[in-house]
Amino acid sequence: MTGMRLSLPEASGNARLVDTAFFTVFGIAAVIFVALFILLVVFSIRYRRGTRARRGPLPSLLRREIEIGWTTATTFVAIFIFWWFVGGFTLPPRAAPNQLEIHVVAKQWMWKAEHPDGAREIDALHLPVNTPIRLVMTSEDVIHSFFVPAFRLKQDVLPARSEVLAFTPTRIGDFHLFCAEFCGTQHSRMTGDIVVMTQPDYAGWVRRQPHGDNLVRQGEALFAKFGCGACHAPESQVHAPKLAGLYGTRVTLADGRRLTADDAYLRNAILHPRDGTVAGYAPIMPDYAGVAGPADIDALIAYLKSQSGLKSQSGLKSQSSPKSQSSPKSQSSPQADR
């Protein structure tokens, strides 16, 4: 039996806030509980059967006033906690600039991460300290949940959707990564290590990794492999939308809807193109659902972004990414049918 742990390190900017909330609510709860406990004990002793305490009825006016009094007080306490900790947290500050964007793919039963310049790791995530991180996460199969207790962060990771988690590690060290949503037989073994290092150490670590192709180059290769260029290349004879410069622009669909060509839109446009044909084009593109896997889609989107002059790691300002929060609604893939 190793040592009993009594405290949890605060290893992200978010952790301090959560702990403040936790221990404030704990204080309020403790006051209420102790007050009730004292009342119970005092009444139990004073008014046990056979004592000579006064037992006449209460004036009914007093009864009503007490009742109204504590109803109001309870409501006030509830609204106070809500206003102080939920109101302040849930609509968070803007996404920090220059975020380090790391793609995470969860599958039964492992975590796969890919860093901006192509370094990859499994069941581990190396992060530079004091650097804004933006995790873009998806699942290959069932729902998982990315949980780092030391960061006080948790986010369910769903298949066919991108969930974003933004935070800044503030402490160097090794921390647990857990899957917190039950995902099958080896759920409890779907864990990993979060290694927070100094920024130079991180840079050194990245350099030492065997460099796979980075996402943009993978995407380019997949673009060729799936034959996307046959229709979408500028020189193609087929009447199909051109993709250079597409990312982040407004698109009008055949059914009149207008939306932004973001990650969620592109994901759906690749998987289920006929749910949202672009105005002026025939619905001739085949579905790539079942052909392109989640990691492939990530790579293709990164490639398309690069074709619009954006770097994958630069972070996108078009979607605010709430800190410690789930992605906004526009991330969900089925939106594209509008």
Partner: protein, 545 residues
């Protein structure tokens, strides 16, 4: 209706109104159906308890060395399904509700006695079917059946297990319809709405939730069956379906289901506290409004189970606010129970000890609910042991304490015998300490990050798991004790008489045990909590000495 002629011999009580097994299996007497349910839910409680005993033993060590991953997952799933749907949801309503609702309002039976019997058969059939398929085939999804795991990936017997749960759901709906119609139509003359005992109000509020929430669960599970059986894409994200839709539908039932479990417990505690504090319940009207308030607001807070699910942050804010609002009526009830003790004449019988335990554990469960309603805290502690501890404090700590409290309080009415007081007090105290030892460490390890449903875990959590398992052993012992001494009292307990506690409810005007038609003479209806002047029950204290 009553025969004016003097009875040649005394009217037999309901237990002796027919002696064959068939007379039980075909009975439409609400009291006998209550007994049938009591025996059945005890059976399922035992199955659920054995499953979790193995789980707790396994968790003594960080490595998975007692059972395999797969077996572990099947065991906690069995525990969850059986305890939630086959024990906690039916527990108090189908036993005490069935037995007492007509007695408390001065009726001969429930409005639809044959539907009541059908409800038991559906319950038993559905529950037995589900448990059989779980034991034979195994289900490893957890009781929450989250998609797409349950529909596309799990190899377990999800389809059949779900089918049984749907059938049990119909049983719940029928009980709910029956209770509502009975409360409306069968109150004795003079029994106005604001003279109803709080237990009846609690049954009424619970029935409303059962009738309105259960069908949504039935449909959700039916969609799961359709998806598994016919491979329809309903919740499958790879084919355009939305797994969050499943979670919304599921929690639309399963959050109110918590109130199905705890509202009846509140009713039981109200009866016991008023009786043994010898005091009119403080703020009766507020207690009624709070019950109804909890039942209604409880329908609009389900999204607080989904703060990390990928739901919109704006939805999180709304659900968080509503969750804080549902805390208000719950707190009011706690204050009112405490205030009832003021100027009372308190007798610490076993039922009263259980009621105190209910009060303490419900308060802790409720206060930890504040943490979970606070979005940033919830993001950290959801899906950890913090949540496990929180809902066990409410659903097991509070509800099961109240169940045992009610069992002791009404045992003389149900069986005509008194239980052994000293043993009962000992069991009550042991249960309280065993429970806290089991679940309090889980709050701590939850905050420290121990995820729920983990078969193997990092060694730094072992201390807490060992404490928890030790507490579970005490708790198990405390649950077994009443089984032993209550059975003993059936044969050797002192005869109780109609009203051993000198309580005011109508049920105490009927003989113990009551005859088939409940009352020999029409009951006198008055204030259900008319405990002034506060003379304590004289006889019951002697037994303890």
């Amino acid at each position: 209706m009553t025969d004016a002629a003097l009875p040649a011999r005394p009217v037999p009580d309901y237990l002796h109104h027919g002696h064959t097994i068939w007379s039980w299996l075909s009975t439409t007497d609400h009291k006998r159906i209550g007994i049938l349910f009591a025996v059945s839910i005890t059976l399922f409680f035992t199955i659920g308890a054995v499953a979790i005993a193995v789980v707790r033993l396994e968790l003594l060590t960080p490595a998975g060395d007692l059972v395999s991953d797969d077996t572990y997952n099947k065991l906690f799933t069995l525990h969850g399904i059986v305890m939630v749907w086959f024990f906690l949801v039916p527990s108090i309503p189908v036993t005490f509700g069935n037995f007492l609702l007509p007695l408390m309002i001065g009726a001969k039976d429930l409005a639809f006695p044959r539907i009541n019997l059908l409800s038991w058969y559906l319950y038993l059939g559905g529950a037995a079917f589900t448990v059989a398929t779980i034991i034979a085939g195994g289900v490893d999804t957890g009781w929450t059946f989250y998609t797409p795991y349950s529909t596309m990936f799990s190899n377990g017997a999800v389809l059949t297990a779900v089918a049984g749960v749907i059938v049990v759901g119909f049983s719940s709906v029928m009980t709910g319809v029956n209770f509502i119609a009975t409360t409306h139509m069968l109150r004795a003359p003079g029994m106005t709405w604001f003279r109803l005992p709080l237990f009846v109000w609690a049954m009424y509020a619970t029935s409303l939730v059962m009738v309105l929430a259960t069908p949504v669960l039935a449909m959700t599970l039916l969609l799961i069956m359709a998806e598994r059986w016919f491979e329809l894409p309903i919740f499958d994200p790879s084919r355009g379906g939305d797994p969050l839709l499943f979670q919304h539908l599921f929690w639309f039932y399963s959050h109110p289901a918590v109130y199905i479990m705890v509202l009846p417990a509140m009713g039981v505690a109200s009866e016991i506290i008023a009786c043994f504090a010898r005091r009119r319940l403080f703020g009766y009207a507020f207690m009624v409004y709070a019950l109804i308030g909890i039942a209604v607001i409880g329908f609009f807070v389900w999204g607080h189970h989904m703060f990390v699910s990928g739901q919109s942050p704006y939805a999180n804010v709304v659900f968080s606010f509503l969750s804080f609002m549902v805390a208000v009526p719950s707190a009011i009830k706690v204050f009112n129970w405490t205030a009832t003790l003021y100027r009372g004449s308190i007798v610490f019988t076993a039922p009263m000890l259980y009621a105190f335990s209910f009060l303490g554990l419900f308060t802790i469960g409720g206060l930890t609910g504040l943490f979970l309603a606070t979005v940033p805290i919830d993001i950290h502690v959801t899906d950890t042991y913090f949540v496990v501890a929180h809902f066990h404090y409410i659903m097991v700590g509070a509800s099961v304490s109240a169940f045992f409290g009610g069992l002791h309080f009404w045992w003389p009415k149900i069986t005509g015998r008194l239980y052994p007081e000293l043993w009962a007090r000992f069991a009550a105290v042991l249960m309280f300490f065993g429970f806290n030892l089991t679940f309090f460490p889980q709050f701590v390890m939850g905050y420290l990050g121990m995820p729920r449903r983990y078969h193997v875990y990092p060694p730094e959590f072992q201390v807490y798991h060992v404490l928890s398992t030790g507490g579970a052993a005490l708790l198990g012992g405390a649950y077994l004790m009443p089984l032993a001494y209550l059975v003993w009292s059936l044969f050797y307990g002192r005869r109780a008489g109609a009203n051993p506690w000198e309580a005011q409810g109508l049920e105490w005007q009927a003989p113990s045990p009551p005859p088939h038609d409940n009352f020999l003479t029409p009951p006198r209806v008055g204030d259900p909590y008319d405990y002034h002047p506060p003379e304590g029950p004289a006889a019951l204290m002697d037994d303890a000495a």
